[in-house]
């Protein structure tokens, strides 16, 4: 077993060495031809190379090399390590949740000089998520309007309508489970802290907020507790499943109709096709259920932007590319073609390539998907992410996993997440009220 470990660390060493070599390679490609600049860009978007190719063709003097080996979840760790080693890329993707951390650690650079003038061209929610103390630290790529995706065929078979309120959602859960105890409306996934955060935001929670330089943490506030109690009720009743998402079990459940719906966001349709290809065309998409149907509200479920790092030797070119990538019509068209996004750029939202498309996962009749996205985006509450969202999410996963397996209280789980986050922020030296 020891030599198994030795072998594993050998692999790690090789991978690390390869990463270092890749990192060392063309940090500044200005030697051969003083005109040409090579920018290194880290991204996890699946077809990003196709989009960058468009830029490389149009800009022979500023070539961009994409490295897609870093996932959304470990980008902070990898960028921090690269900063220590002095090998930061010129640009990187960053989720809105991680952006404050990257600003605090001096990795995301201030790009106000180049990007500040774009304010009237970018959706306010996305602008606010990338602006701190009046300075821009990322060019937002898109926002993620929340959707409830549901299987139209299963709902029809049970005589159900798509739920508009959380009461109707609970009723639908009971109906589907009563008809066949092996089937569920949904799973309550302990590994999806992002979803719970968004649902809490919808109910009015502010997990982080800032006033005059001091932070408040409201992870266990009344609104979050209301959401926790609601899901605890459904879990205790046994009418929703509790397995994690992104597992083979979840994949199978999505594909074979064990799960009749999925609380997700605008980026979900390609993932439905990827995980459950047989169900393509059977899904409907509606606004997520509401606490007050007359006043619809939505939370923030994901979204990312492009940062220029403090390690770049070509800040001007890097800024130019970051702005182009998320605001140029050609780039957005390439995005729409290769990935499912809801652009932050306001003109991009009106592109025919976007508005006339029905994602293949959805029923052909769902022609209003992107119109609905625009409406939901307007209903999305403003959200402030704290500097240690990763700590909160990790603590959430552990606390809720334990609560589910041991039958513990979800409210207590929220309290423990709150304590962990406050403790972490105080340790780091933030002022927490």
């Amino acid at each position: 077993m020891n030599s198994r470990l030795a072998r594993t660390s050998g692999v790690v060493a090789i991978v690390t060495a390869a990463a270092l070599l890749a990192g060392c390679a063309p940090a500044s490609g200005g030697d051969a031809d003083s005109e040409q600049v090579t920018l290194r860009y880290w991204s996890w978007a699946p077809n990003i190379a196709a989009i960058v190719d468009v830029w490389n063709e149009q800009n022979p003097d500023i070539q961009v090399e994409v490295n897609t080996s870093t996932g959304a979840n470990d980008i902070v760790a990898k960028l921090s390590a690269a900063k220590e080693a002095g090998t930061l890329p010129d640009l990187s993707n960053a989720t809105y949740e991680n952006l404050p951390n990257l600003v605090v650690n001096g990795i995301a650079d201030d790009i106000t000089d180049a990007f500040g003038e774009y304010e009237d061209q970018v959706a306010t929610a996305a602008w606010d998520l990338t602006t701190f103390d009046g300075k821009n630290y990322a060019v937002p790529q898109g926002t993620s309007p929340q959707f409830l995706f549901y299987r139209t065929d299963i709902f029809e078979a049970h005589g159900l309508q798509a739920p508009t309120t959380w009461d109707e959602y609970a009723e639908a859960a009971r109906t589907i489970h009563a008809a066949d105890p092996s089937k569920f409306l949904a799973t309550f996934p302990a590994n999806d802290a992002q979803l719970f955060a968004a649902l809490s935001q919808q109910a009015g929670a502010e997990w982080w907020s800032q006033e005059e330089g001091a932070w408040s943490v409201g992870i266990a506030d009344d609104a979050s507790v209301k959401v926790a109690d609601y899901w605890q009720g459904l879990v205790d009743e046994g009418v929703v499943a509790t397995f994690k998402t992104w597992t083979p079990e979840w994949q199978a459940a999505l594909a074979d109709g064990t799960l009749a719906s999925w609380l997700s966001a605008v980026w979900a349709p390609p993932l439905i096709v990827q995980n459950a290809p047989e169900t393509a065309g059977l899904w409907g998409a509606v606004r997520i259920p509401q606490w007050d149907a007359s006043n619809p509200v939505s939370g923030v479920l994901g979204g990312s932007g492009t940062i220029v790092t403090t390690g770049t030797e070509h800040p001007e070119e890097a800024r130019e590319f970051a702005i182009w990538l998320n605001n140029n019509e050609d780039a957005i068209n390439a995005y729409v073609e290769n990935a499912s996004i809801w652009p932050a750029n306001l003109a991009g939202r009106e592109l025919p390539a976007l508005r006339d498309t029905v994602p293949p996962a959805l029923a052909p009749s769902q022609t209003d998907f992107y119109d609905l996205a625009a409406e939901i985006d307007d209903e999305t509450v403003p959200v402030t992410w704290g500097p240690d969202v990763a700590v909160a999410y990790s603590a959430f996963n552990d606390a809720f996993s334990t609560a589910i397996t041991s039958g513990g209280s979800f409210t207590d789980a929220l309290e423990s997440v709150q304590d962990t986050v406050v403790g972490d922020m105080e340790k780091l030296g933030f002022t927490v009220e």
């Binding site: 077993m1 020891n2 030599s3 198994r4 470990l5 594993t8 060493a13 979840n73 470990d74 902070v76 760790a77 921090s80 404050p100 951390n101 600003v103 605090v104 650690n105 001096g106 701190f132 103390d133 302990a190 590994n191 800032q210 005059e212 330089g213 001091a214 509790t242 397995f243 994690k244 992104w246 597992t247 083979p248 079990e249 979840w250 199978a252 459940a253 064990t258 500097p387 240690d388 990763a390 700590v391 990790s394 996963n397 552990d398 996993s401 334990t402 589910i404 397996t405 972490d424 340790k427 780091l428 030296g429 933030f430 002022t431």
Partner: protein, 331 residues
């Protein structure tokens, strides 16, 4: 180690000593060479090992120690800007005061109590069976038992995890088929067996091969005389073969114990599948989470130093206890 090298080096020296006696010349040069060579040669021999150890063991250890006494602290209001500062024993106090560290050690011990005896017992059993005179298809069996070791831990965990997961488990399907209640293979206490099963499956082959090789290295004459004296095959295995391969058993046992102390990739992979495994399930997972998920490399370094110390003390203590028995008192 040193004794066999000295005589071989002495010979050329003796040859050199004769040389200046022949042609008249500056006697200084051979003298210098004579002095230089013995001083340089051992360093050349140990050089690569020293460089490797310094670069791959001591340098990271020193850096980890350095990190463990530092931390990121934020200056200024609001988001502020973080910088690396010296924090003294802060990380150690935090790490040792964290109840989840002790809970993770507890879970690791439960896991080790299952994994170590079963791995060792089965590896020994298979090695003795393969060495049995009447066993057929030894080549095939040996390879079949060894193959799981070639499967990377992460892949093994994914594969087994797939077989455990309620929604897709063929094991549960088989239970249902014969009318038995479907077991929950990753719930409550069974999760320890679920994880142990993956590592046992993966490491029996390695240990079995080491033990089997020790068995093949024993002189056949002992068996012949034992058989002549009327020793049965079972007695031969238990009374003659087993005592003779005790050093091999202790060596593999030590490897298995150290492996159990460092268990990481299997439960870390299975955490993504099940609610039963948290991110602080065993000490190594806790270190990984702090370093790479919640981005506190400094706290993780302190915890890593604590775990290294515990592992080192446990291994050395165990080795000391077993050494005399294993290696006949040779220090």
């Amino acid at each position: 180690m040193t004794t066999p090298i000295l005589p071989t080096r002495a010979e050329p020296e003796a040859a050199h000593a004769d040389a200046p006696a022949g042609p008249a010349g500056p006697a200084g040069r051979p003298e210098a060479r004579r002095r230089l060579q013995p001083a340089l040669a051992p360093w050349l021999f140990v050089g690569p090992a020293v460089v490797l150890a310094a670069g791959l063991l001591f340098a990271p250890l020193v850096y980890t120690l350095f990190l463990s006494f530092h931390g990121r602290r934020v200056e200024g209001s609001g988001l502020g800007l973080a910088s690396e500062v010296f924090v003294g024993f802060d990380n150690y106090i935090r790490s040792l005061g964290d109840p989840s560290l002790y809970a993770s050690f507890g879970r690791m011990l439960v896991y080790a109590l299952i994994a170590v005896p079963v791995t060792m017992g089965l590896a020994l059993l298979f090695a003795l069976l393969l060495d049995h005179i009447a066993t057929r298809f030894t080549r095939f069996s040996r390879i079949a038992i060894f193959v799981p070791y070639a499967v990377p831990g992460v892949i093994a965990a994914l594969m087994w995890g797939f077989m455990y997961l309620p929604g897709v488990s063929p094991i549960r399907d088989a239970f249902a088929l014969v009318g038995l209640p479907e077991p929950d293979l990753m719930d409550g206490a069974s999760v320890f067996f679920a994880v142990a099963n993956v590592t046992i499956w993966g490491s029996i082959g390695f240990n079995m091969v080491i033990l089997y090789t020790s068995l093949r290295g024993l002189p056949q004459e002992i068996y012949d005389s034992a058989r002549l004296d009327g020793c049965s095959e079972r007695q031969l295995a238990l009374r003659i073969k087993l005592p003779l391969i005790v050093p091999g058993v202790i060596l593999t046992g030590l490897f298995t114990i150290i492996g159990a102390l460092q268990v990481f990739s299997e439960p870390n992979m299975m955490m993504t599948l099940s609610n039963s495994i948290t991110s602080d399930w065993v000490p190594m997972m806790l270190v990984y989470r702090d370093a790479f998920v919640t981005n506190d490399l400094y706290g993780a370094s302190a915890t890593a130093i604590v775990i290294t110390a515990v592992t080192l003390i446990a291994s050395l203590g165990l080795l000391k206890v077993l050494q005399r028995r294993a290696f006949g008192g040779e220090s």
